[in-house]
Structures are given as structure tokens and as C-alpha cells.
Amino acid sequence: MPDARAVQPQFPTLERQNDADHFGMLLFLSTEVLIFGGVFAVAFTLRAEHADYAQASKQMHYWIGGINTGVLLTSSALVALMVEAVRAGRAKLAGWLLGGTIALGLVFLALKFTEYALEYRDGVVPILSDANLHGGVERLFMDLYFVATGLHALHVTVGLCLLGSLLWPFGRARRERTAVFAGNAALYWHLVDIVWVFLYPTLYLAR
């Protein structure tokens, strides 16, 4: 199947253009890593400064977080297979894998917001419902918890939009054997995944 992507005039070859698109995406992801790096720096510093900082994490629904880790890792595996399917020219299979990825991403968000709702019920949400937040340090932890997971959920949403655009309006991109757009969207999804892989132990497991 001929490649539908046109070479833009500034590139000598299509191959070079594809390389550039891929490289640009990696650079962009490095900025995302640094954005979350700031969040982790705050988490580790405050933890080092307050002995009982992680106390509040004992009230967390760590099993929801655990299931969500599995959900997100599975979706990441699916999206990696999707890229391989696109490269192999199997657009239909790629469509199914993409659908699976998006469905799991939505499951992640649904579980995450269920968890927020449970925390609201438990009275551990700062400002909105803080009946059971004991002392400043617990509050401090929950503040950062909502900032970190909220920022992550925002990135999940952006990732879903990006993957969704492969269904429509860029469904064509799924039939391009070079998988530039599909590959870049998948890379973004991997970032969302890997950030969670570090957030989960930082916020839930390390007590």
C-alpha cells in the first residue's frame, strides 16, 4: 500500500521526515517527564521532612490503585501491539487493539473517579470533605495526592483524545505502514503509563 503521507518541502526524503517526527515526539515526552519530575521532587522532599508524611496513605484504597496499574499496563501492551499491527499492514487488527486500549483507558479513569468518590465519602478530601483528615501532615499528603493524580488523569484524558483521533479523523494514519502518527500516539500513551508506574508506589505503597 502506498504511503499516504506527503513529504513536506523542507525534508529531503520521507524517511528523514519520519525520523524527525519521531525524534520531536521523544523530545516533547522528555518535557513531560520533567513536569512530573517536579511533582516527584515535591513528594520526596515533603516525605523526607515529615516523619509521618505517609500516614495518610494507609487510608487509601490501594487495591483500586493496584487494579488500575494492571489496567494501564495491559492497555500499554495493547497499544504496543497496535503499532506492530499497523507496521504489518493489518489495519483491521490495529483497529481492534486500539479500541481495546481506549476501552482500558476509560476503565482506568472510571476506577480513578470511583476512588475519588470513595475518598469523598471517607472524608479525606482537602477543602471539600475533610472530616477525617487528622492534622496538617495528612492534609499535606492528600493535597499532593490530588495534584499528582489529577495531573496524571489529565494526561490520561489527553492520551485518550490522541488515540481517539486515530479512530477519527485520522483513521488513515492506521493504514500507514510507517506508523509515524500511530507510533507517536502510542509513545504518549506509554508515558502516561510509566508515570503511573512511579506514582502508584510513591503515593500508595511506600509507607
Binding site: 523542507q10 525534508f11 525520523d19 524527525a20 522528555s30 517536579g38 499535606l140 493535597d143
Partner: protein
């Protein structure tokens, strides 16, 4: 090359458009739409130039208010609050809306593809988006002014910014937050362009030094700006929702804010000065008309500054209460970062040695940079010493130090670049006598403005106060008078440069006999930059052995058509 070409006088009558000008990127449509929807890197460079010039004057007005108020020890022009807002606005606008974007987004944008023999940047639409994001950020800055301004200083230190300040902090933070994405996108675009779009024969070892410094700057854009982004988000969340991150009342850590802020903002200083160093490398080699002394040392020192620059942020916090061991290491690294800067200064000087120097406007600007940057850099080493810094923190000494680097150095280089590449951008030569006059005025006006501040700072005058002891008045008046000389020197080029658009002599492709690929194409360049893809077979600054007597040559291979 005849001397008259280096130092042209204006003609008496308007010079009609040349055939080159009628085929150039400037002739590709004259409508507003053709500019606002362009993806041509040269036009986007000009869009950026218009935007940052506007902000330069906004920041300049704030500076004028400050200097006017400081003429007397009494608070007679502005209220205390008004003064705080004036210097905050001056800092925010000058740092984020002029200095950081200044050389990269204008000359970087215009020259990077030309210097490496490319038709455009790798992502032209992203480049235009970067401009729109920048303008949106600028718009928020203007809204901040209308909403009453902000009184935190440009550093937004917590908990003042997040809890106590009564200014429009959220709006100001939003403005800086938005402009950060413009920096990030420009950085990504430049890095990818240098990696993927060099023309045949343009190896890394043949890149002009301006490209090396823009490349390093782009890396800092990409690796430092996101940290500022998240820090500002956290401050905004703390201010708007009262979350505890940096607020000590809630168990947060205000020093943590300073660490995160300076992790961006110290490398940001190198964002401002590295491109200026790149410009000076071009200007000095051309003025001396010979190969740069120690190409790899100059290129490598740019990279070294970029790398070490990430590890010195703690020198802003010697008196903030960070660990003394951390302070000792930051002090050492801050002294180390002066080494690559010194290498550059020595290499420029060695390049001038035994060169066939023609003293023209661009050279005077470059020499001004070297002089002012050296003073700024050496006082920086003084401030890196913990013992001296404890005494000098938050005094006028610090103010003078960073103005020497950022305004004396970088703005001189910006004007130097404007003069050196003006014939390439517009196709016209300006009157060099005026350029030399403006360059000298900038240098002396600048020294008159900021040298007294070193003295005042050393004697203990703290920054950000507009009421001061009578004893400082003579120095304050000297500084204010100097700043008005500086203002004239900054405005002057607008007259003779715009004059040259109509009355200037057509420049021809290579008025300076320079060697870069940008000089092989007509001035102003056509939309696609080059008629055929250039092929490079020489290193940068391959000035002829015979000096100015020799046939001018460029990096372009001679037998490209064969």
C-alpha cells in the same frame, strides 16, 4: 571589498525595489493574512521581532518609572505598592517576554535554517503556533497590568506570592506559564532541525558557532522550562485553592519552591547569554576576517555552560537556609561555570589578534558585549563566594551584576546581530556611522547606569527599595541619567534602520564578505532560502588566507553545479 560598502552613507533619494527584493520572502504577499498565517521561518522571525520589540518597550517604560522615582530619596513619584508593581512588571516582561525569546526566536528562527542549508525548520506550523502561544502569554501579561499589576518581583517567591500578595499573581503566573510552552516548542523545533535538516556536507564540525549556541539553548529550553511550568502550576493551585505545597503554615516548604524555581531560572540565564555568545562568535570572526581561534573550544564551552549551568542553581539560596554542604558544592560549581565563559572570551580576543579588523557597527556591539559580559561574569564569580554573597545578597551589587550580563551583554549582542544580519533580512545597508554612534552610546550609557549600582550595593543599598539614605543620591542620579542615555541609544537604531529600508543601498548577497551559507543566497532570501540545495565542503569561518585582499569564499562547495 571597498570601505564604502562597509560604511555606506544614505543616498538622497529613495532606492526602488531590486529584482532580488521582488522575488524575496518579503514579496510573498503583503496582506495581514499572509503574515499571520505564514509558516515561513523568516516571516515568523519577523513576527517575533515585532512582538518582543513591543514588550521591550513595555518593560522599558517600567524601568524608566523606576529610575525616575529613584532620582530622589523620597517616595515622590510612586507609592510603595506602585514601586513594587513597577519593578515586578519590569522583571517579568524583560525576562520572559524579551530576553528569553530575544535572540533564539528572532535570529535563531531566521538564521538556523539558512546557516545549515535547509529550506525551513523541521516543524513550520509548530513554529507559528509557538508565536501565537507567546502572544497569548503576552496578552495575559497586559491583562495583569490592567488588573492592577503584581508585586511579588519576577521570582514569585512563596509564601508571599501564594498567600499574602494582593496583586494579580494568578494572572501573571498564567502569562509566564503560557509563554513557557512557546519556549518548549521552539526548543524542540530547533533541536530536531539541527539533527535532521543539515544540508549535504554540513557535518557537526562545520556548523557555525551560532548554530552550536542556539542548539545548546534549545536543549536548555526543553529541559528547564517544564520544571518552571509545574512549579508555577503548584503556586497557582496553592494560591487559588489553598493547597499546602510551599506554605509553611500547612507544613509545606518555601525553600523547595526556591529550589524548583531556580532549577529553571538559573539555566534561563544561560538561555539569555548563550545565543548572545553565538552572535559574538560570528561578529568577531567577520570583523577580524579570519578563522575563529579554537573552534572546538568555543563550541564545547557552549555545551559545557549548558551542562554545568544546570547544577549551579543553589547559589541563589546561600542565605535561604539550605544545607551549608549544599552551599559549598553550589559555590564550587558556580565558580567552575565561569571557566568555559572565560575560554570564549579568550578565544574571541585571540581571534581578533593579528586580524584585519574593520571597526564597524557590528564589531563595536560585539566588543561592547565582551567588555560588559566580562565585568558581569567576574562579579558573578565574586557572588559565587559564599562569604561575599552573605554580605551582597539582595543588594544593588546583585542587580548590577545580572544587568551587566543580561542587559549589557545580551542586549548588546541582540543589537549587534540586528546590525550584522539587517542587510540579509531586509536587503538594505544602513548608515554605519549612526550604528557606531549607537553602539558607543549603549556601552557608555550602560556603564553609567549600572557601575554606580555596584558601589551602592557594596555599601549596603538593598534592592527593591525606593526610599534610600541621602548618601546614595549622587550615585542614584548618575544611574538615572545613564539610563536616559541608554534609552536614547536603544531608540536610535529604529530611525536609521527604518530609514535604510527606503533610502539604503541594496546590500547584495554578501556585503561583509562573510563565509556562512546564509550569505550565499540573495538578500533578502527567496521563500525557499536557496535556489538549489547547498553542498558544503569547508569548515566554518573559512576566510581567505590573504585576508580582505583575497577572493571572498563561503562554506558552499565551488563546483556545486558540476
Amino acid at each position: 571589498m571597498s570601505p564604502s560598502q562597509v560604511n555606506p552613507r544614505m543616498s538622497q533619494e529613495a532606492v526602488p525595489d531590486t529584482p532580488e527584493e521582488r522575488r524575496s520572502y518579503l514579496a510573498e504577499g503583503h496582506s495581514l493574512r499572509s503574515w499571520l498565517l505564514t509558516t515561513d521561518h523568516k516571516r515568523i522571525a519577523i513576527l517575533f521581532m515585532v512582538a518582543i520589540t513591543f514588550f521591550f518597550f513595555c518593560g522599558g517604560v517600567a524601568a524608566a518609572l523606576i529610575r525616575l522615582d529613584l532620582l530622589t530619596p523620597a517616595p515622590d513619584l510612586m507609592s510603595n505598592d506602585g514601586y513594587n508593581r513597577a519593578f515586578s512588571l519590569h522583571g517579568i516582561i524583560m525576562v520572559w517576554f524579551f530576553l528569553i525569546p530575544s535572540i533564539p526566536t528572532t535570529f535563531g528562527n531566521f538564521l538556523l535554517p539558512l546557516m545549515i542549508g535547509a529550506k525551513d525548520l523541521a516543524f513550520p506550523r509548530l513554529n507559528l503556533a509557538s508565536w501565537y502561544i507567546f502572544v497569548l502569554g503576552g496578552l495575559f501579561t497586559l491583562i495583569t497590568v490592567v488588573a492592577g499589576g503584581v508585586d511579588t518581583g519576577w521570582t514569585f517567591y512563596t509564601p508571599f506570592s501564594s498567600t499574602y500578595s494582593n496583586g494579580a499573581v494568578f494572572l501573571a503566573i498564567t502569562a509566564v506559564f503560557i509563554s513557557g510552552f512557546s519556549s518548549i516548542l521552539t526548543g524542540i523545533n530547533f533541536i530536531v532541525t539541527v539533527h535532521k535538516l543539515r544540508c549535504p556536507g554540513m557535518t557537526w564540525g562545520r556548523l557555525p558557532l551560532f548554530v552550536w549556541s542556539i542548539y545548546t539553548t534549545a536543549i536548555i529550553f526543553v529541559l528547564a522550562t517544564p520544571v518552571l511550568t509545574i512549579t508555577l502550576v503548584l503556586v497557582a493551585l496553592e494560591r487559588v485553592f489553598g493547597l499546602g505545597i510551599f506554605d509553611p503554615a500547612l507544613g509545606g516548604d518555601p525553600i523547595l519552591f526556591q529550589h524548583l524555581f531556580w532549577f529553571y531560572s538559573h539555566p534561563a540565564v544561560y538561555i539569555m547569554v548563550l545565543p548572545a555568545m553565538g552572535v559574538v562568535s560570528e561578529l568577531i570572526t567577520n570583523a577580524a576576517h579570519k578563522q575563529i581561534f579554537g573552534y572546538w573550544f568555543v563550541a564545547g564551552s557552549a555545551i559545557a555552560i549548558g551542562v554545568i549551568g544546570f547544577m549551579v542553581w543553589g547559589h541563589h539560596m546561600f542565605v535561604s537556609g539550605q544545607s551549608p554542604y549544599a552551599s559549598a558544592i553550589f559555590s564550587f560549581l558556580s565558580i567552575v561555570v565561569a571557566v568555559p565563559s572565560a575560554i570564549k572570551v579568550y578565544n574571541w580576543t585571540a581571534t581578533l589578534h593579528k586580524g584585519e579588523i574593520v571597526i564597524d557597527g557590528p564589531l563595536l556591539y560585539a566588543l561592547g558585549f565582551i567588555g560588559l559580559f566580562t565585568i558581569g561574569g567576574l562579579t558573578g564569580v565574586m557572588l559565587a563566594m559564599i562569604a561575599a554573597d552573605v554580605h551582597l545578597t539582595d543588594t544593588y551589587f546583585v542587580v548590577a551584576h545580572f544587568h551587566f550580563i543580561m542587559v549589557g551583554g545580551s542586549v548588546s549582542a541582540y543589537f549587534g546581530a540586528l546590525h550584522f544580519w539587517w542587510p540579509k533580512i531586509t536587503g538594505r545597508l544602513y548608515n554605519d556611522m549612526w550604528a557606531r554612534l549607537a553602539a558607543l552610546l549603549i556601552f557608555f550609557g550602560f556603564v553609567m547606569t549600572f557601575a554606580p549600582q555596584f558601589v551602592m550595593g557594596y555599601e549596603g543599598m538593598p534592592r527593591r527599595y525606593h526610599v534610600y539614605p541621602q548618601v546614595f543620591q549622587p550615585l542614584m542620579v548618575m544611574s538615572s541619567v545613564g539610563s536616559s542615555v541608554l534609552a536614547v541609544a536603544y531608540v536610535l537604531p529604529f530611525f536609521y534602520l527604518f530609514w535604510s529600508l527606503r533610502y539604503g543601498k541594496p546590500a547584495g548577497p554578501n556585503p561583509w564578505g562573510a563565509t556562512g551559507l546564509e550569505w550565499t543566497t540573495p538578500s533578502p532570501p527567496p521563500k525557499d532560502n536557496f535556489e538549489t540545495v547547498p553542498v558544503v565542503d569547508k569548515e566554518a569561518y573559512c576566510y581567505p588566507e590573504q585576508g580582505r585582499a583575497g577572493e571572498p569564499q563561503t562554506q558552499q562547495a565551488e563546483s556545486v553545479d558540476a
